[in-house]
Amino acid sequence: MNILKGNINSLNTSGRLTIVTLDVSGFSLKSIIIENPETVTYLRIGNPIQVMFKETEVVVGKGSDIAVSLDNRIDGVITEITKGVLLSSLIIDTKAGKIKATLTSESVTKLDLQPGEPVTALVKTTEIMLSE
């Protein structure tokens, strides 16, 4: 599990749903949750918060201007690759901290990912969990 530290930047609430925009060391990340500021106390602008997502949910993009629907993009550099038969694990060093990503070994080969290479870690808004 990846855990990054950030602060709440803005809240966009509709009924029980809220899209929380977070500032994580300069990166703007979004998370949608089934809570609103009335149901939980931690939803306050400026509040420090932990951002959590599973390594298996991280998409790795190469090059600039990746045209996909993912809002959350964190730039970094690959520092380590562990290759398995089917799966491979990457460690990406970013300004927000180290991010782990688990991809298929096939896609690592296809994208020709190497240590030292700059990449973007992408995460869906519905995959980011928040914790106090």
Partner: protein, 292 residues
């Protein structure tokens, strides 16, 4: 406010255990005593009911003194207004459902409460049957109703649901919550099922070897931090195995077994038997009706 301080040496399976607990329970709350068997949960209930005498301590219930060892005060079980739901129901086999309830009436008490309770537990059709002819779940409902006839100041439930199947359990949990609210009771529940604790209680006391090691709101006690995930289940690890570069962790949740993928660093910190929380976002799980 109910203030309880109890000390007693208990002879457990593996030698002597010193029970030493302090509990403060707010009027109207439903609290749980949580812990493995042998942690002293049932003994605490028995001492509150007056069925067991502690070596030292006091019990103060809404300003009246039920027990104080130093001052030599100890009300008899009959004088303490408690409702006690025993693990084995303890229904009187010689009486019908209705007679079991009327037996509990106090002198001069209005009999209306009996009919009202029989209706609440939905046992009107069976009220003239004897306990021996009823199912476990039905007997447990009768025992619950009987415990409420006297309008107790404290309702105590000693693992009332452990012997029931999942469906019956859910139904009884709902019954308990209904009567807890309707009669504005202060309820103490003994349980070793984390999901039950989270569903039912305002506060949980986590017992280990006769001591309270943690207490607070169930979510705070079970999860070290509050998480936004709406899909949270509490379970126990029954297997961890490495597959390729990841780990597959098998978790027993209630009567279900689920598998969760974990990273090496996470798997290293876990072992079989650990209590864990499995969390996901409400957005991820698929839901589909089971074809009957």
């Amino acid at each position: 406010m109910i203030e309880i301080a109890l000390q007693k040496e208990l002879t457990a399976a593996d030698g002597i255990m010193k029970l030493d607990v302090d509990l403060r329970i707010q009027q109207g709350h439903l609290v749980t005593l949580f812990g493995d068997s042998g942690a002293g949960k049932t003994s605490i209930l028995r001492m509150i009911a007056g069925l067991m005498i502690p070596d030292d301590g006091q019990i103060n219930v809404n300003g009246s003194n039920w027990m104080d060892v130093k001052k030599g005060i100890s009300l008899k079980p009959q004088q303490r207004r408690v409702g006690f739901l025993f693990q084995n129901y303890a229904l009187f086999p010689n009486m019908t459902v209705q007679e079991n309830l009327t037996y509990a009436l106090e002198k001069g008490q209005d009999k209306k409460i009996v009919d009202e309770l029989i209706e609440t537990i939905e046992l009107g059709d069976l009220q003239n049957r004897k306990p021996g002819t009823l199912s476990g779940g039905q007997n447990q409902r009768v025992a619950l109703a009987r415990a409420l006839v006297r309008k107790p100041e404290i309702l105590m439930l000693d693992e009332p649901l452990s012997a029931l199947d999942t469906k019956m359990r859910m139904k009884l949990q709902d019954f308990i919550l209904t009567v807890h609210k309707r009669y504005n009771l202060t309820t103490i529940l003994v349980s070793h099922d984390a999901n039950e604790v989270i569903k039912m209680s305002d506060e949980v006391f986590f017992l280990e070897g006769g001591k309270i090691i943690k207490h607070g709101k169930p979510v705070d006690v079970f999860a070290s931090k509050r998480v936004s995930g709406k899909f949270q289940l509490f379970g126990e690890i029954i297997n961890i195995e490495k597959q390729d570069i990841i780990y597959v962790v098998t978790v027993l949740i209630g009567a279900n077994i689920v598998k969760v993928i974990a990273d090496e660093s996470e798997a290293d910190s876990m072992s079989i038997g650990d209590k864990v929380i499995v969390a996901s976002k409400a957005f991820n799980p698929l839901i589909r009706k089971i074809e009957e």
